[in-house]
Symmetry: C2
Subunit: 201 residues, 2 copies
């Protein structure tokens, strides 16, 4: 005999497909969801389908949205000539949560990685070129991670746009906020040293 | 502006209601569920409702089931005069997973706890008394946790059934399998000492 009733087992299997959820957690989550009120489960299950069907990349920038053009690209108060180039929409979420960036985004959906056979044509770059062409004095902030792929992509984008009147910057590298220096890896330390900022002369 | 599209936010809120899921994990799980195929989400969302509506305690023993009487109570190959008394159906799941118990269960749904105002009438005990009355030479295994509430309940049930031709045992206390002795709490060590088993004379 199976340990669990079949419907419980299927529910558990669903949770197990989510990241970081093993056998035990899936069981706990399935049990906990049985204890939620029926209305909450109904709305959750509708939302699961609705979100899957309606959330898609913004046709301008690639941010996750349930509209054709995302609220960031439609927001006239934001600076549309200041484009923060990110790897994925999760990175754009992180900037929005930090809350101080008033420009717009461009989601690449990937990084150039010769090792994984991902070239410049496989990332969402052509649409960035077209966006930039239409702007006066555009500024690009390359907010890609500090890794071989991130830096390859940063260099590649820099090459495309240099000497074309486009201001380009990258995020500074250095100590993450609150980090204990003795726990940092040597690359971060090297970077923080290289990018050091003079504070007195 | 909200960081996330509304439908994504609601999905995240659902996951946040599950145990051990904070802001970050809920976000990761909502993102991951968007990446599952639509059919899987559809079946998961149906199952969420189906399980909630159909899973209920077995009318005989209290095990979680989607039938009136659970497969364990309907199984004629099991020993119906050997009843393992557990606190909740999760404990019964644990025995079924271990797989060696061939009797049936009785789920109390709670333990006696004067501190929390839970008395003998608040646990599923009357139905156990009725079950036991109908049996020849019944045996009860009290499989309640080793805590004040567990032991109070064990003692109470022992009192009810003693001198009535009912064999009663409790689980042995002692070292959990694989535990490092130097990490055990003193109660477990005391118990293991008290319940020690002679292996040679």
């Amino acid at each position: 005999m199976a340990v669990y009733p079949e419907s419980f087992e299927s529910l558990k299997e669903f949770f197990k497909k989510l990241p970081g959820i093993g056998e035990k957690s899936a069981e706990r989550m399935a049990l906990a969801s049985l204890e939620l009120p029926l209305e909450e489960l109904e709305s959750a299950s509708q939302m699961l389908i609705f979100a899957k069907k309606n959330l898609k990349p913004c046709s301008v920038c690639g941010y996750l949205t349930d509209q054709e053009v995302c609220p960031i690209c439609s927001d006239e108060l934001r600076d549309h000539s200041l484009i923060c180039v990110v790897e994925d929409y999760k990175s754009a979420f992180a900037f929005e949560k930090a809350g101080n960036f008033k420009g717009v985004y461009h989601v690449l959906n990937n990084l150039i990685s010769p090792m994984d056979n991902i070239g410049a044509d496989d990332i969402n770059l052509n649409s960035l070129i077209k966006r930039v062409e239409k702007l006066d004095h555009p500024e690009l902030i390359l907010a890609l991670k500090s890794s071989i792929e991130g830096e390859t992509t940063t260099l590649y984008i820099k090459k495309i746009f240099e000497n074309q009147g486009v201001t380009i910057s990258r995020l500074s590298y250095g100590l993450p906020s609150g980090a204990e220096i003795d726990y940092l890896d040597m690359f971060t330390i090297d970077r923080a040293l290289e990018d050091r900022k003079k504070i007195s002369e």
